[in-house]
């Protein structure tokens, strides 16, 4: 009872059309890492937003260090030592790293001007344990999502809070960075900070958490010490049934080469990238964050202008100058940053999903509303997107369901080549399986699929071929059978960079 720093009692919350939380109890001990898991839309983020004062609970009490909270609000909660890293990054993209971390409490000089020197030094000190190369003066929008995440975490830590909520902090991170984050979390725990940790990467939970709470459909299913549960049991409680296969790989006969990229170069981003994708094939692209995977894809897609190199579709060279050209030529790209590149938050589920097919499903510019409506509704059902209706604004969906909308948007449009950039980020175990199935369906129907992912298990288990990217180039190609996580990591870390530089074509020659 005494070591309970936080106790949330009987929390209820409903939104129009959804009961997000149905009388949930939750508690947090001093110096523990408490994992909170559940399917997309289970209510995890809502519970945390109530804790942070962003939402007001319809019912329920919150006790902090043995005292019941009366007045609340975001400021009050921060002052009370509660800091939340939200699922969606909430940085000001046009401001620098330092300004973001110190917003509202900038160090001042006596003259009343901001003491930039001190600010930059402080930021360097705060970022030190992360061991990352981030310049405090860099503008946020120039950083990769992983680095943005590091900034978010650094900001929360710099507030000296003793209760820290992390809502899917590892979603944009890769192996090494996750390790670093865990180290930071362990250090914090040892110094008495209590942490609530939300993640859909269930393999992380046993590594880092002391206790776990499972939510399902707004209800608390259980809270247990981690030693008493296996991952399989956690999954069963989350989805309410036993999940037979996490990576349902089917073998699809490969057809003709559908996409071929030759010596693609974009100065500062990628160099001499050559690879091909065949019909029915899933090609996995992996590498560390910042290795240039996203940039390669965006160059192919025409979002960034290439310096040289050629792209062939169905054996024909194509000129792609804009994303519009790419889509016309049959390439679809599902971007990694959902809020900024994938969704229009202020529009409905329908408008977001139908966006890619309006040109096909219209006559003289007029939409075939009925037909669109039917296809959208069918897919919402198939993908189990949790929304009260297709008219709901996307802003109000849970993070994972937003991700599903982005995927759905492209499933509606029939492309020859699909490029998925981190397709399962933030998606729960059950829905992941559905997405893998849908991806394989695309392949089975003759599309070529490129899957960029930082999650090694999914790369290893779902790809037919794996391309490892290091500092803007493909350093190694593995056939499905040859790859294992250690070998792939070695190349991703650049340990073999030297060899591959001596024989630059080695990667391609092996096929």
């Amino acid at each position: 009872m005494d070591d309970r720093v936080l106790w949330m009692k009987g929390i209820r919350k409903s939104f129009p059309g959804v009961q997000a939380l149905k009388s949930v109890d939750f508690d947090l001990a001093r110096g523990e890492v408490h994992a909170l898991v559940g399917e997309n839309g289970a209510g995890k983020s809502t519970l945390m937003k109530i804790l942070s004062g962003l939402y007001k609970a319809d019912e329920g009490e919150i006790w902090l260090r043995g005292r019941k909270l009366s007045s609340r609000g975001i400021k009050a909660m921060i002052d009370a030592g509660v800091s939340v890293i939200y699922q969606e990054l909430n940085l000001m993209r046009q401001l620098s790293v330092a300004e973001n971390i110190f917003i509202g409490r900038e160090p001042m000089r006596y003259s009343g001007l901001i003491d930039w020197k001190k600010m930059y030094l402080d930021v360097q000190r705060i970022l030190e344990p992360f061991n990352v190369d981030i310049n405090p003066k860099t503008k946020i929008y120039m950083l990769s999502p992983a680095y943005q995440q590091v900034v978010e975490i650094a900001k929360a830590l710099s507030l000296n809070s003793d209760i820290l909520v992390m809502d899917e902090p590892t979603a944009p991170l890769t192996g090494n960075e996750v390790e670093k984050l865990f180290e930071i979390i362990r250090n914090l725990r040892n110094s008495g900070v209590s942490i609530i940790y939300i993640s859909h990467r269930l393999e992380e939970i046993p590594q880092i958490a002391d206790r776990v709470t499972v939510l399902r459909d707004g209800e608390k299913i259980l809270t247990r010490p981690l030693g008493e549960l296996t991952t399989a049991e956690i999954i069963r409680h989350m989805v309410g049934r036993t999940l037979t296969e996490q990576y349902p790989k089917i073998s699809v006969p490969l057809g003709k080469e559908i996409l071929h990229v030759e010596n693609l170069t974009k100065k500062g981003y990628c160099k001499d990238v050559s690879f091909s994708v065949r019909r029915g094939e899933i090609v996995g692209f992996t590498g560390l964050v910042g290795a240039g995977r996203t940039e390669i894809m965006q160059t192919i897609y025409g979002r960034m202008k290439k310096d040289s190199g050629s792209i062939y579709i169905d054996g024909q060279e194509v000129q792609i100058h804009s994303t519009c050209d790419a889509v016309k030529k049959g390439i679809g790209l599902i971007p990694e940053e959902r809020k900024h590149q994938g969704l229009v938050l202020g529009l409905s589920v329908f408008d977001n999903m139908a966006m890619t097919i309006l040109d096909k499903e219209s006559v003289l510019g007029f939409l075939k509303k009925k037909k669109l409506d039917i296809s959208v509704k069918k897919l919402v059902e198939l993908m189990e997107i949790k929304t009260p209706s297709t008219k709901q604004l996307v802003r109000y969906l849970s993070g994972g369901n937003q991700q599903k909308i982005i995927l759905a948007k492209w499933f509606l449009r029939h492309c020859k080549v699909y490029i998925f950039d981190e397709p399962t980020r933030g998606i729960d175990v059950g829905a992941k399986v559905e997405i893998y199935k849908l991806m394989q369906n695309l392949a089975k129907e003759g599309a070529g699929v490129i899957m960029v992912s930082s999650e090694l298990p999914e790369i290893l288990k779902m790809s037919d071929r794996i391309e490892v990217v290091f500092s803007g180039s493909i350093v190694k190609e593995f056939q499905r059978e040859e790859a294992d996580s250690e070998k792939v990591m070695e190349y991703a870390l650049g340990l073999h960079e030297h060899e591959s530089q001596q024989e630059p074509r080695a990667a391609g020659a092996e096929t």
Binding site: S322, L333, H340, Q341, L347, F366
Partner: protein
């Protein structure tokens, strides 16, 4: 209870304000609530109401068009000049609309291709179009047209003034375009998040340009009505109209950062401004004072919008 009240106020706020002002004016002025005056108000409203519909498209994409008043002047001048030169009316109508389309196209291309912010481009266009109107007319009004042409602004169909009919038709077309067509949906989407639209493989520049073309052509359409109605085109016509036009859109609930707004809102917003203008005239309030009131209304409307945005 309190939440509900605020919600209602936000959704129906303008309609409520509109009704209140109408009731107030009916009490204060015996003339206000007469059929004659009401028709008069709507007819006056239709001139900038039509432009406000075009402006709605622009503002929905997150842009702004300050040049509408000047585009009206230059289109009106060219219309008048061509009529005087004895061109057939049909040709004149098309040419006038063409001027509006042309101005909008230039603006749109500078916004999308040269990537200059709409505020600056249209500020420039405001000056350019005004200048062209003055050059073309040498600074003098051009007046005196055929009775046929004067029907556009002065005629009636089934007892309803033609400008009102044109206004309503424009509103209905715009509503259908915004709700039922690609262009409409993309207009909202671009205002919501242009990057997403572009990454969805949509030629967002094309649609963004189109939006300025729409705004330009509604300005030209208003020019036809105004020129016909006054039986004269003045190079200084439409000065300061952008204020009323933008005010109508904003009062109608559109967000200046784009992505939110509606034609019906704009319609009511335009009527509201029309009623306020008319009411102040009826009550004998000085035009100088009217300016102050209008300014306050615009700030008030944007403030309301801020409150709305804060919720999200």
């Amino acid at each position: 209870m309190k939440v509900k009240f605020v919600e209602t106020l936000k959704s129906y706020g303008i309609i409520l304000a509109f009704l209140l002002i109408c009731v107030g004016l009916s009490i204060l002025s015996p003339v206000f609530f007469t059929l004659n005056n009401i028709i008069n108000v709507i007819r006056q409203t239709s001139i900038y109401g039509i432009m406000a519909v075009g402006m709605t498209f622009v503002i929905l994409t997150g842009g702004i068009d300050l040049s509408v008043g000047s585009v009206l002047a230059v289109s009106g001048a060219i219309c008048a000049g061509m009529l005087k030169a004895g061109n057939p009316i049909i040709l004149v109508l098309l040419a006038t609309l063409g001027v509006g389309v042309g101005c909008g196209l230039v603006t749109g291309l500078f916004v999308t291709k040269a990537r200059i912010t709409p505020f600056v481009v249209t500020l420039g266009m405001m000056s350019i179009a005004r200048g062209l109107a003055l050059i073309y007319t040498r600074g003098y009004p051009i007046s005196g047209f055929s009775p046929t042409f004067r029907l556009i602004g002065g005629g009636y169909i089934l007892g309803i003034p033609i400008p009102i009919i044109i206004f309503l038709v424009v509103v209905i077309i715009a509503y259908i375009v915004l709700m039922q067509t690609k262009l409409g949906r993309y207009t909202y989407a671009i205002g919501g998040n242009e990057e997403t639209v572009r990454l969805s493989g949509i030629n967002s520049d094309f649609f963004k340009t189109l939006v300025y073309v729409i705004s330009g052509s509604t300005a030209a359409l208003s020019a036809l009505i105004l020129t016909s109605r006054l039986n004269s085109a003045e190079p200084v016509a439409g000065t300061g109209y952008e204020l009323d036009v933008i005010a109508a859109v904003v009062i109608g609930g559109a967000s200046l950062s784009g992505g939110r707004g509606s034609v019906w809102g704009t319609f009511i917003g335009a009527l509201l401004i029309g009623v306020i203008n008319n009411g102040m005239n009826l009550l004998g309030i000085s035009p100088y004072f009217q300016q102050v009131v209008k300014g306050l209304i615009i700030i008030g409307a944007v403030w309301l919008d801020q409150l709305r945005a804060k919720e999200e």
